[in-house]
């Protein structure tokens, strides 16, 4: 069985999201900032008439981003526990097939990545880190037990 994966660019690295969970990939328009929200919540956008919580994935990984402008950023739209989220990435182009089941990470890819990863998966495009949507939505590792 070969699962299809969406290859995204995140904090300068390539990573993968399970394609079945991906609703669409959009270019962000107006993002309304949300006061008093967690740092990794970039704001609210709208996907047609549904609100879309925009997640700054780089912030989840602990990589500082230039917060100046979210417009024209790419976001991967996923549905998690009944809500729509836009996972902000630098690029999302390819869909590749996984060659095998994901397996444990093995070597530590760095704390942020460790937190946001489900495992490592071999694909047609080489080995990729498989991102954990729930972890991205929940926010950086500090907010949970380290």
């Amino acid at each position: 069985m070969s699962e299809m994966l969406l290859v995204v660019m995140l904090a300068g690295r390539r990573a993968a999201l399970p394609a079945v969970s991906v609703n669409s990939v959009i270019e962000l328009g107006e993002v309304t900032p949300v006061p008093c929200a967690a740092a990794h919540v970039a704001g609210l956008a709208a996907l047609r008439s549904r609100p879309l919580t925009v997640i700054d994935c780089a912030a989840v990984l602990g990589v500082a981003t230039d917060k100046a402008d979210w417009r024209r950023q790419r976001a991967v739209v996923v549905e998690h526990e009944g809500h729509l989220y836009g996972l902000m990435v630098e690029g999302a182009d390819d869909i590749v097939a996984a060659l095998e089941e994901p397996r444990p990470l093995g070597a530590d890819p760095g704390p942020g990545w460790q937190h946001a990863a489900l495992g490592r998966v071999e694909t047609e495009a080489g080995a990729l880190l498989l991102l954990d949507i729930a972890a991205l939505v929940a926010g950086p590792a500090e907010s949970k037990a380290a």
């Binding site: 309304t32 900032p33 967690a38 008439s49």
Partner: protein, 777 residues
């Protein structure tokens, strides 16, 4: 009850359909435990459900089948061929009966004794029972076309599709405006708009359910509770046919249960106490629902002992919530409202029924969370009345949009008491520590800067625009905002938990252009910013302590009109003061109009031929239904009128002139303004008038002025409030109207003293006015 019955029929049919396959499988292998359980559950459910209705045959059949199957399950009986056949026959007969019930037919009475005998295992081998051939298929085909059961998600999906259509339509409308000219698609576009609105209405209605479904569960609850407490209580349900959003029904269920439990437990006395108090032995609990506009009012009323507000007061003092002096100064109503203080209850003992878990404060908070209010009235010895008001639907919320620190937010309109601006003058501030107070109608209200509360940026020092918010009972505070945009009917969407956790927002919505906007939880913001909970009470006490030496006069806004005159207008009529450029004024003169935001309003206070200043201060006046605008050079201050108002002649729009702080000011007659300039509300509200006499002249000459005065002219035999009788018109026509005004064609005093010369316009209008006033009285 029809709703419940329909539900029962639909549910039973659904189970029958699902059972069809199981039956065949069970027939093939009667020892199959899983199948047996499924069939047992079915007859068990049917038996349980028909207990609510009067279907003895259905109950007897399902009961017998249930017993037999229970024996099989307990291995007391072997499912032999005959038993299986009998059970299948029962299921078929249930199917037939369901069809009969749905058609409203009386249940046919063909004996089931044979069948029941077989099920009970007491029949001889020779006895057989009639199979009902083809019962199942007819049952299925007859009804499926009439109603369908849909998953709520599907309806939600359609609803959101329609919301998206509305957004797309708004987008097109904006683009069409930008094109500025005839594109030839206006007509089809407006048709499309109308269709979308229609579909939206229809789909909103599908979410509506009768409140009856909720009410129907109360009699049983009250019966059980009263039996437990040894009380006798009649319950009366009124107007169960009021419809409410199904989610809203779920939300009000718990608060209502709590209030009903309280009424039964604490409100209504025991029969002996009631007799001693000279009441009927049995208490009365009335639960009613009424729709008024977009609000549903739900009343829970008991005729019990009422709330013992003195006990409440004692407890409040004992709990240290209030001092004895404060209590003394409180009115009875204020003391009753102590019931909403956290941790107060009049219950003598903690009972199993009302318990101690949640208090009325929690009930009220829960109702307010979804935009409702809870009010209470109580008379000692006579009873207590709770009034819950909730919006018709959760999904559409009338809101006010405001700006703080460059960002737009929405506030549910039900919280907005008033909008005040320092530009109007008369606002008095006091700085107490870090908290700023503004004096609003004799109350010092804490000012909370919206930007500051949201941590957007330090609060601007010179904040001058306030939305006065009213939380539940008069806990008022002033929210300082940078700008106020507009009223909207917004569709509220839930937010993801990551955003909700701040507790500052209740949801999210979209403006016409699709921009997401956060909806503020103004109660949470206020309390988080430290506004005192009992603000209104302590201040009310303080105000009374100060002893009102001066009678409160009419609060007015003083302004300088376009001619430079100093004028005053009743403050309660002024909804908002806005600045507008002269450009926004169309057609300067008595019939001027002004564009304010998205509204075009009639603009008054613009004399013919006057040169408009570059910027006007425009007061938006409202009577609760309509708005008109009044132009001024400048809004001066707010004052209280204590002097005498003297009438002046020749100024139809002025009540008169009065002295304010030693200077004269003319008081604007709001009534005259609205009477002459607001659009006449159509429909039955307006008084009707009939014209009897020379048709052409009456219609052409009198008709328009009467209509302009707000009357609706009626024809034929329709009864009218006022009738105009032309000279010489037969007197009996008067019978169909409540007031008559007679006209004569000759001037002067001659002739009938009661009649009015047909061209004496002033007398005519005066007579009409008098008739209207007398009718209204």
């Amino acid at each position: 009850m029809d709703d419940l019955l329909a539900e029962f029929v639909a549910e039973t049919r659904e189970m029958l359909a699902a059972l069809a396959g199981e039956i065949v499988a069970w027939e093939a292998d009667p020892s199959d435990r899983a199948r047996l359980d499924t069939i047992f559950r079915f007859v068990h459910t049917v038996k349980g459900n028909c207990g609510f209705f009067d279907f003895p045959r259905l109950e007897a059949l399902s009961h017998a089948a249930e017993d037999a199957l229970a024996d099989v399950r307990a291995d007391r009986r072997v499912p032999d061929r005959r038993l299986v056949d009998a059970v299948l026959a029962v299921i078929d007969r249930i199917g037939v009966m369901i069809v009969e019930i749905e058609r409203g037919e009386a249940l046919s009475d063909n004996g089931d004794e044979d069948l029941i005998a077989v099920l009970e295992g007491r029949a001889d081998d020779g006895l057989s029972f009639a199979q009902i051939p083809g019962a199942m298929p007819t049952a299925a085909s007859a009804a499926e076309q009439r109603t369908i059961r849909l998953p709520v998600e599907l309806i939600d999906q359609v609803m959101s599709g329609v919301s998206e259509m509305v957004l797309a339509r708004n987008d097109i409308a904006r683009r069409m405006q930008a094109m500025d000219g005839d594109s030839g698609i206006e007509a089809p576009f407006s048709r499309l708009s109308a269709l979308i609105a229609e579909v939206r209405d229809a789909i909103t209605r599908t979410r509506m359910r009768r409140i009856e479904g909720l009410f129907a569960t109360f009699p049983r609850l009250v019966r059980d509770l009263s039996a437990e407490l040894g009380k006798q209580i009649f319950i009366e349900l009124e107007n169960g046919e009021v419809e409410l959003d199904r989610e809203m029904i779920e939300l009000i269920r718990d608060p209502m249960l709590h209030i009903i439990r309280n009424a039964v437990d604490h409100g209504i006395e025991t029969p002996t106490d009631r007799l001693a108090a000279g009441k009927r032995e049995a208490g009365m609990l009335t639960i009613s629902a009424r729709q008024s506009g977009n609000t549903i009012h739900i009343g829970v009323m008991d005729d019990g002992r009422g709330i013992d507000c003195d006990r409440l007061a004692e407890k409040a003092v004992a709990a240290g919530i209030h001092t004895a002096e404060e209590i003394v100064a409180m009115s009875r109503q204020e003391r009753i409202e102590l019931i909403f203080e956290p941790g107060l209850s009049t219950a003598e003992a903690i009972s199993a029924i009302s318990g101690r878990g949640v208090g009325m404060d929690v009930v009220r908070t829960n109702i307010e969370k979804f935009g409702g209010t809870l009010e209470i009235e109580s008379t000692p010895g006579e009873g207590t009345r709770f009034l819950i008001c909730v919006p018709l639907t959760l999904s559409i919320l009338p809101s006010l949009t405001v700006e703080a620190s460059g960002q737009t937010f929405a506030i549910p309109r039900s919280y907005v008491e008033e909008i005040v601006s320092e530009a109007g003058g008369g606002l008095e501030f006091a700085q107490v520590g870090e908290l700023r107070y503004v004096t609003f109608r004799e109350r010092r209200l804490a000012c909370v800067s919206l930007g500051g509360a949201l941590g957007l940026e330090p609060a601007p020092v010179d904040a001058s625009l306030f939305v006065i918010l009213r939380l539940g009972w008069g806990d008022l505070y002033a929210l300082a905002v940078d700008r106020i945009f507009d009223h909207h009917e917004l569709v509220i969407k839930p937010l993801s938990p990551g955003i909700m956790q701040s507790g500052l927002f209740v949801g999210c919505t979209q403006l016409d252009d699709g921009t997401p906007v956060l909806v503020l939880d103004v109660a949470a913001i206020g309390y988080a910013a430290g506004i005192p909970r009992e603000l209104h009470r302590s201040s009310a006490v303080a105000a009374r302590g100060a002893a009102p030496t001066e009678r409160e006069g009419l609060r007015v806004v003083l302004f300088r009109d376009l001619t430079g005159e100093r004028r005053a207008i009743a403050m309660s009529a002024v909804e908002q003061v806005e600045h507008a450029p002269a450009m926004a004024v169309r057609n300067p003169g008595p019939n001027a109009q002004i564009v304010l935001g998205e509204d075009i309003l009639p603009l008054l206070g613009v004399p013919e031929g006057i040169e408009l200043p570059a910027r006007l201060s425009v007061m938006r006046l409202g009577d609760g239904m309509q708005q008109i605008a009044y132009a001024s050079q400048k809004v001066l201050e707010i004052a209280s009128l204590n002097g005498v108002v003297k009438r002046v002649n020749g100024q139809p729009t002025m009540v008169g002139v009065t002295l304010v702080d030693g200077e004269t000011a003319e008081l604007v007659d709001c009534h005259a303004l609205f009477a002459s300039h607001a659009e006449q509300a159509p429909g039955a509200r307006s008084l009707t008038c009939r014209l009897a006499g020379e048709d052409g002249w009456m219609r052409t000459f009198i008709g328009p002025i009467i209509e302009a005065a707000g009357y609706r002219v009626v024809d034929g035999d329709e009864p009218a409030d006022v009738v105009f009788l032309d000279h010489g018109e037969a007197f009996e026509t008067e019978g169909v109207a409540r007031k008559a005004i007679r006209l004569r064609s000759a001037p002067g005093k001659s002739g009938d003293a009661d009649s009015i010369y047909r061209y004496d316009r002033n007398a005519l209008m005066a007579a009409l006015l008098r008739a209207g006033e007398e009718l209204a009285a």
